[in-house]
Amino acid sequence: MLSRTAENLYWLARYVERAEYLARTIDATLRVTALPAAYVGKTNEWDSALLTAGVAASFYQAYEEANEDNVVEYLSFSPNNPSSIRNCIEAARLNSRSVRTALTSEMWDTINSAWIELQAVWSKGTSTREDLAKFLRFVQETSLRFDGSAYRTMLRNDAYWFSRMGVHLERADNTARILDVKYHVLLPEAEHVGGPLDFYQWSSILRSVSALTAYHWVYRETLKPWLIADLLILNDTLPRSLASCYGNLVRNLDQIGVAYGRQGPAQRHARGIRNRLEHSNMNDIFQHGVHEFIQEFIADNSRLGEIITKQYLI
């Protein structure tokens, strides 16, 4: 397939995944900030929402203070934020238009309908919390529909694999970013203070990767930071864990390698990261520092993006 087509499919999937992640982040933050101060502590949750979205620096160039109104606006609708939800959907639609021939009509319909709704219903943003909740649901449903229609309707060939790679690379980045911002509340020392404050912090992390229910099914335990980190990093049954994302990335890259009859640096690099995840346990990770581990992962993950681009997309 055309390199440009593969590139568009890959980025299209990333934009949709990112939009959903932003919607989850806003949703989770709203829940925590709605609690009485005694349960949340003094941290500015809107500030950490910006950090997990990776847009804090550009935000503070435009705003003085991070509060609900301006962070929601910036993450959801701002035309000045290149990865606001609105811009993600706009970019997804533009990419879809460029590769319409590689999309199934169901995928196109999902993106095009979302783009039409964005303009028809959400062009002025949201004015009430009810509105905002509706908007966030709309974004999540768009992503579900997109994923579902890709899964159900695409031919299992390179177009599908490049699109899935976009999903998993973006997902791994998002999960890693939450961990990067929140790692301190997961540190073992924090277990001593395990009061209500931490409970809500922890559940908020799980909620933003839609893993709160999953946690209980996997561990049948009350929330423990150790296990939360285990779930998000190493548990390959959780679709948003780093291990699961890399299991999928390695598989997709192998499928491409088989179809094209040759492997390259992307396959090797992805396998390297997956092996490291497979051979780690939480004990080692905490010993060597969660923060360092995560930062290294984020760098490795974005390097994989660059290698894939070089090997296939240009």
């Binding site: 397939m1 055309l2 390199s3 440009r4 087509t5 593969a6 533009l94 238009r97 460029s98 319409r100 021939t101 009509s105 196109w108 319909d109 095009n112 309908s113 039409i116 390179d158 490049f162 491409i256 094209y260 296939y312 997309l313 240009i314």
Partner: protein
């Protein structure tokens, strides 16, 4: 202006046979039901994303072409005649192009004046002596046809460069079949869905000699911001070929390749929807970023087929148009089946004088214009507009031709006040490959939605209709 030919009703109250069943159906169908389906059709178009862009329109970059749900119907007998005429015309166009870029018999015979060719900006000296596979220059032609009476088909213009609109022909039919299955059941409508297959076959048949037995065809688009982008992606999809932009292609050793995820892949035939001027910055406009550097040298080396060929503009130029009856005669020795609109060539002093005296009654067109821009419709223009145009015409008479205002035929059309006659034209799509010429029965009917308006161009408020050829 004469009374327009009504394609449905015969003066005196009778119906033309092709429309009888439709008229019966319309009587049985309550207006609300029709209205409801109109809205449904619009929703479908928007969801599928069948849009076009209007240049210089900042309001919205993507617009829908209004779709009228009342089909335009022709009998099989009428179509047979039209088809014969179209094949004849396109054969002559191809022979004319071959001649212009080789022996130039027609110039020596004094049928077409030399300066009209050599001083014409759309004449491409690069094509002199260039061989093209099977001598096909115009693989895809869109011939605009109008009717003024029950007997004749008149060619309004020939489009031999990159004619567009065929996606509407196909999508209009799809949507009509979805919305009005009962109406189809009551007619025998000749299908149009073969078009993509026939187009692909024609394109593959003209692959260069150096191509493999399974030639690779690609569609070259200027990109998502082009007004016809939807059509480009639609056709690439239906043909199962790659939709490429200039940046996807590279020329190496006079061969054309596309960049793929598996490396470079040779391309043999390019169905290009990019104008000559933008094809190759090394040969034509150096500022073009839409083209492919070196494409023309690969073309000259015979390693790539471009469809349509470079330089076909010289055949659909409005000044050349007026010579078409003579051109048909010259190459085929036959009477033209399709008529021409009587045309005054403003470059000729006698004609110019007549045109200047009768501006109020004539349609004056720019020789190189298209899309309905830059023309004067005398009877509909204000005095001031006419005077301004007169000055333009005097300054540069060779840039214009003039024609009488035709009373284009009308078809019943949905309007705010119910069904009413509106003026229509027809663009059938004529395909030519190594095995000859084919035309799917039908084409794109364009309709001027404003009462009395004769401008059917989508960029100027025209709409489209499904075109039915009855298979009797």
């Amino acid at each position: 202006m004469a009374v327009a030919f009504d394609e449905m009703n015969i003066p005196g109250g009778d119906l033309r046979p092709a429309y009888r069943e439709l008229a019966r159906w319309l009587r049985e169908t309550p207006p609300e039901a029709l209205d409801y389906r109109r809205q449904e059709a619009e929703l479908l178009f928007r969801r599928i994303g069948i849009t076009f862009a209007v240049y210089g329109d900042t309001e919205s970059t993507e617009r829908l072409i209004p779709f009228d749900v009342i089909p335009r119907i022709m009998s099989g007998k009428e179509w047979t005649l039209l088809e014969k005429g179209l094949k004849q015309r396109v054969r002559a166009l191809n022979m004319f192009l071959r001649d212009i870029y080789h022996g130039r018999d027609i110039l020596r015979a004094g049928i077409v004046p030399d300066d009209l060719i050599f001083q014409n900006p759309v004449f491409r000296p690069e094509m002199n002596g260039q061989e093209v596979p099977h001598d096909v220059y115009v693989h895809i032609a869109g011939i605009d046809i109008v009717r003024v009476d029950a007997e004749d088909f008149i060619v309004l213009e020939d489009n031999a460069r990159t004619p567009s609109g065929v996606s509407y022909m196909l999508e209009n039919r799809e949507i009509m079949m979805r919305l009005f299955p009962d109406l189809f059941a009551r007619h025998r409508v000749a299908p149009v869905e073969r078009y993509p297959d026939e187009l692909l076959a024609a394109l593959r048949s003209v692959a260069p000699h150096s191509a493999s037995s399974e030639p690779t065809v690609a569609l070259l688009t200027p990109g998502v911001y082009n007004s016809a982008y939807y059509e480009h992606s639609f056709l690439a999809d239906k043909l199962g070929i790659e939709l490429v932009e200039g940046r996807d292609l590279v020329v190496k050793n006079n061969e054309v390749f596309m960049r793929t995820t598996e490396g470079m892949k040779r391309v043999d035939v390019i169905y290009r929807r990019v104008d000559d001027d933008f094809l190759d910055p090394l040969t034509f406009r150096p500022d073009s970023v839409l083209g492919v550097p070196g494409l023309m040298s690969a073309y000259a080396a015979g390693n790539i087929t471009l469809a349509n060929a470079v330089g076909t503009g010289i055949a659909d130029d409005k000044a050349i148009y007026s010579y078409m009856p003579d051109i048909v005669q010259f190459y085929l020795g036959e009477e033209p089946i399709l008529k021409n609109v009587p045309t005054w060539r403003c470059r000729e002093p006698k004609d110019l004088a007549y045109v200047l005296d009768n501006l109020g009654d004539l349609v004056v067109k720019e020789v190189h214009g298209s899309g309905g821009y830059g023309m004067l419709i005398g009877p509909a223009a204000t005095k001031a507009t006419i005077e301004a145009f007169r000055e333009k015409l005097k300054r540069e008479p060779e840039g214009f031709i003039a024609q009488p205002t035709l009373a284009l035929s009308t078809c019943p059309t949905c309007t705010a006040a119910g069904l009413a006659p509106r003026h229509v034209d027809l663009r059938p799509f004529v395909l030519t490959g190594s095995k000859g010429t084919t035309i799917v029965p039908g084409g794109l009917t364009r309709v001027a939605l404003k009462e009395g308006s004769l401008v059917v161009n989508s960029s100027q408020g025209g709409g489209t209709k499904d075109t039915w050829i009855l298979d009797e």
